[in-house]
Structures are given as C-alpha cells and as structure tokens.
C-alpha cells in the first residue's frame, strides 16, 4: 500500500465521521457541510482510486519505512524533539523549557556546550526581556509552577 493512500484514507475516515455526526443537525447548520463533505469524499475517493491504479507513481509503505531508516531516523528524531518540547513546556512552562530545550537541542546537533549555552542565553535573554518586561506578555507557567505556587 502507498503512503499517500494511507494519508488520504485517514482524511476520508475523518470526513465520513463528520458526515455521520452532522446528520442530526438542524437544516441550516448542516446545509453547507452536507454540500462540501460529500464533495470532498467523492474527490478523495477518485484520488485514492487513481493512486492505486497508478502502480509506478508514489512511494509504497515498505519503501517509505526503508527510506526513513536510511536517513538514520533523522525525521523521527526531529518529531520526537518536537513532542519532547511540547511535554517539557506543559510541565515546566516557557521560562524554563525554551532555554533548556535550545541548549539540549543544539548540543544534540553537534554544537559545543559553551556555544549552546551562550546562544540560548543571549537569544532567550533578549526575547524574554522584550516580551515579558517590555510588552508584559504573560507566558504559560507550566504544571510544576502552578502546583507549587497556586
């Protein structure tokens, strides 16, 4: 199976679910969704059939997994870093997570400790000074802060 077919299939599933959910809505609420969701389903189905019939174009799931392995898992690692930052932000908030993440991320990508710490300190120092002290922007404080100080 092709990777694009899996992606299209997931969108198709979401669209069908939305169509089922909207069947009990009042007329005016469901009118446009009932015009455009079936249209999208038809277009997506045509796309999937065309993709499946065209055997040469597109990447198959097995080839895609192999290519991901060949790139030494760089894409997977990047996604994990993004998810890691998200969890870190949720727990520790911006003030802690942003600079620490930058240091760790730069270090993991081959920069020296000194360079990573300096770059992060300068970058986020200017940033926080501008947004927190000059513009009074309120940042997310994180679960730990909320647990300890609220």
């Amino acid at each position: 199976m092709k990777v694009s077919t899996v992606f299209d299939g997931l969108i198709l599933l979401v669209l069908i679910s939305l169509l089922i959910i909207s069947k009990d809505y009042p007329f005016q609420l469901k009118l446009l969704p009932w015009i455009f969701i079936p249209l999208a389903i038809i277009l997506l189905s045509i796309q999937m059939v065309t993709d499946l019939r065209n055997k040469t174009a597109g990447t198959h799931l097995i080839e895609w997994v192999k290519a991901a392995k060949d790139s030494e898992g760089k894409y997977l690692k990047t996604v994990l870093w993004i998810l890691g930052l998200f969890v870190f932000l949720f727990i520790a908030g911006f003030m802690v997570a942003a600079p620490v993440f930058t240091v760790l991320f730069l270090r993991a990508n081959g920069e020296s400790w000194r360079y990573s710490v300096c770059l992060s300190a300068i970058g986020w120092g200017i940033f926080f000074a501008t947004f927190i002290y000059a513009l009074n922007v309120r940042l997310y404080e994180g679960k730990i802060y909320l647990y300890l100080f609220s």
Binding site: L15, L44, W81, F94, N109, L139
Partner: protein, 502 residues
Amino acid sequence: MLDQLHLVSGSLFGLFTFYNLVLMLIGIAIGLVFGIIPGLSGLVALTLMLPLIYDMDPNSALIFLLSSHAVVTTGGSISAILLGIPGTEPNAATIIDGFPMTQQGKGGRALGAGLMASMLGGFFGALVLVFFIPILLPIALAFKSPELFLLIILGLLCIVILSKGHLLKGILSGVLGLIISFVGYQGLTAMHRFTFGSLYLYDGIKLVPLGLGLFAIPVIIDLTAKGTIITDKSEKNTVRQSEVWEGVKDVFRHFWLFLRCSAIGAWMGILPGVGGTVATFIAYGHARATSKNRDNFGNGEVEGVIGPEAANNSKEGGALLPTLVLGLPGSGAMALLLGAFMLVGLDPGPLFLVTHMDIALSMIWTLVIANIIAAGIALLYCRQLAKIAYLPGHIVASFLLTLVFFGAYCSRAMFLDIVMVLVFGAIGYGMRAFNYNRPAVLLGFILGRLAEKYFFIALKAHGSLFLFSSPIAVALDVLIVLVLFSDKLLDWIKKKRRRYEG
C-alpha cells in the same frame, strides 16, 4: 480634493509615529531575514507574526505585517544573486543571470540592479493600487451578498485550478479548508458544529494555530532533518560598493524594461492564484525576448536580473488590489493578511475602503516606505546579510520551534492552541509530502465563514434562485463555469486549431 489630500498626507504622517516606525523596522528585519534564509518563506514569517498583533490597533498591525511581507523577496534576491540559492521561490528566476554575474566577479552590479529594481517595483505596485482603487471601488460597491458569495467561489476555483499539476488535490485542499472553517459556533442558528463537546472548539479553529501548523512545522522538520541547505561556503560573494551603484544605474539605463516587467508583475499579482514564481519567470521571458543581448541571457546579463526583480515586488501591490477592494485574497499570504484584518476587528470587503480608507492608504504608504528602507539596508549591508543564509538549519529550527509554540500560546493564552499546532503540523507535513495545496486550505478556511454568511443572507434576500439574481451574478456564474472547464476548453480549442491548420 482638499479632503482627499488631507487623508493621503494624514495616513503618511500617521506612519511616522515612533511606535509605527519601530514596528515597521522590526517587520522589515523579519522579512529580510526570512527572505534570505532558504526554506523559510514569507508565509512562515506572516504566521509567526500573526499572534503578536492581537493587542495592536488595526493600522499598526497591518503596517507590521505588510512591511515584512513586502520585503521578503528583497531578502530572497540577496541569496539568489550572491549564493545561487533562491531565498524564496519567486527569486528562482533571478538566479539564472544573477548568480553567473557573481561568478564573474560582478555580484555587486547584479545586487545593485536587483535591489533597485525591487525597490522601484514595490513603488510601482503601490502606484497601481492608488490608480485602480478609485476605478474599481464603485464596481465593488455594486456587489451584494449573491455576488460576493459567487466571487468567493470564483476566487477559490481560480486558485486551485491555477495550482499547477495537481488539479484534483487543489480543489480538494480548498474544500478541506472550507470544512475546517465549519467547526464551532454558527451565528445563524446560534448552535455549535463539530465541537465534540469540547469548550475549546466552541469558538472554532483559529487562524494562528492552523497557519503555524500547516506552514511552520513542516519547515522546522526539514530544517532539522536536512540541516543547512548551503554547505559550500567557498563561493565568492565579494561585493564592491562602486559596482553596486553601477547596478543601480543599470535600472535607469533599462527603465522601459523595468516599467514593462513591473506591469507584468502587478497584473500577475491581481490574478488570483498565479503566484510570484510564474510572474517572475514571465517577466524574465519577456526581458529575454525583447533584449538586444538575448544570447547573453543565462550567462550573466543584467537585464535578466532587472526583469524578474521588478516583477517580484510590484506583484505585491497588484495582489493587494482584490484583497482590499473585494476582500478576495489571491494567494496564501494575502489570505493570511485578510485573516489579520478579521483578528484586529476589521471587516474585509468592498465596504472596508469606504469606512477605512485611511488604513488602506497607510498600507499603500507602507508598501512604498518598507521597500525603500529594505533596499537601503540591503544595499549597505548585503555582504553581512548574505551570511545569514549560512546559519545551520538546527540553530534556526531550535529557536523557530519554540517561537511557534510561543506564538500559538500567546495569541489566546490557551495551551490547547499548541496541541492544535501539532495536529495541523502533522496534517501540513502530510499535505506537503503528497502534493496537497496548503495555501488553498488556508484560503478555503478564511473564506469559508464569509461564504456561509453571504450564502444564507443571499438565500434569505433573493430566494433559492439567488445565483441568477442580477446580471453581475449571471456573469460570475458564467465565469465560474469557464474557469472550471478552462483546461478542457483550451484543449478543445487547440485540437480544433490543429485540425484547421492540418
């Protein structure tokens, strides 16, 4: 007359307040940096800047965004000419002659010509706006809800059909954008749709997390995984200041070419969905076709730099025309700008110019002044600015990623907006990988709510036959059908012509 002069001068002086000037300079700096770094685009810059405008007054917010957007391609021309890598997609045409000039040691001249053509091109685009707004405004005011609904459909169709190669996915992307816009509260019935009982979704999906997810996350993933795009630092990007002025003079030596290419760019900007890349390549083709030195094109001809760079910046003025007059964005960036209108409480559409002409004039002045300042900075510091393009991908990505999350959070102080960025980031990455048209998703999303509003108003006012309620509506119907079947129609005409000639 005196009133109009007062309005024009007032909007200019309004721009020169300390606050607005600082915002403009920050916007220009962001635009130049995002233009210079290959892989980052004006769209990513705009999505990152959107969360910052919430507390600004409408005029300042639009100055901030537009000053950045207007100069992105100016930044892109620096990396195109000195490094042979387009900072933004539309700068690709500049490389053909700009980079060979650098290799021949004439980088300064190419840069001078490119930056001067960019600056004057931006000026030309602003003039197009000033000239056409009074002409088009009375026509736009004749548009009522049925015509506005049809105009939105026409705009969406133009954009998806002109998205080369993947027609089906283009249309599908626009429709998916429309469907995303249906989530949340519907004013007409005072009920909620597709919220799954979540309070967060009651207010609908917001532009900032959607834009950041669709455009910024895929860029960050690529920047980190692929590293920097420029690894070879051995290229000579020596620039002598005397050569730069020679390049500036070149624009005036070929002023007629500059005017023609600027006109091409402005016209391409007005047409929805054509895009900057097409505009610059058409301008390049025109410059080559009309030049006495056409054999030298591709080997470092200065006219090959002036043409695309003039078109590149003049298209922004053209693109603003349908956005301001009709509330109909012709590109992803213009859709974001239109979204920004709504974020700061402005109602886009024909009435906008009647009620907020001062803001429209201020936007035109912004186009002019931002281009002048950006070209000045770029001419003075081009060598230093070019070094930005060498920044390793992971350094840019480390700050960019946190800024994306920060931007998503600070727009409404809701942590779930960051979750939405991740969700749309995954969707955006898949869409880019499988050739969906992401700007069309954005356009569908922004126009979806407006389309629904006009649809029901038209239905109430004109009944079920509202699609044929006026001559303008019928003309738009015909145009929609023509656009929808334009490919088939062109094929049919070509076949007939071939048969006739054969």
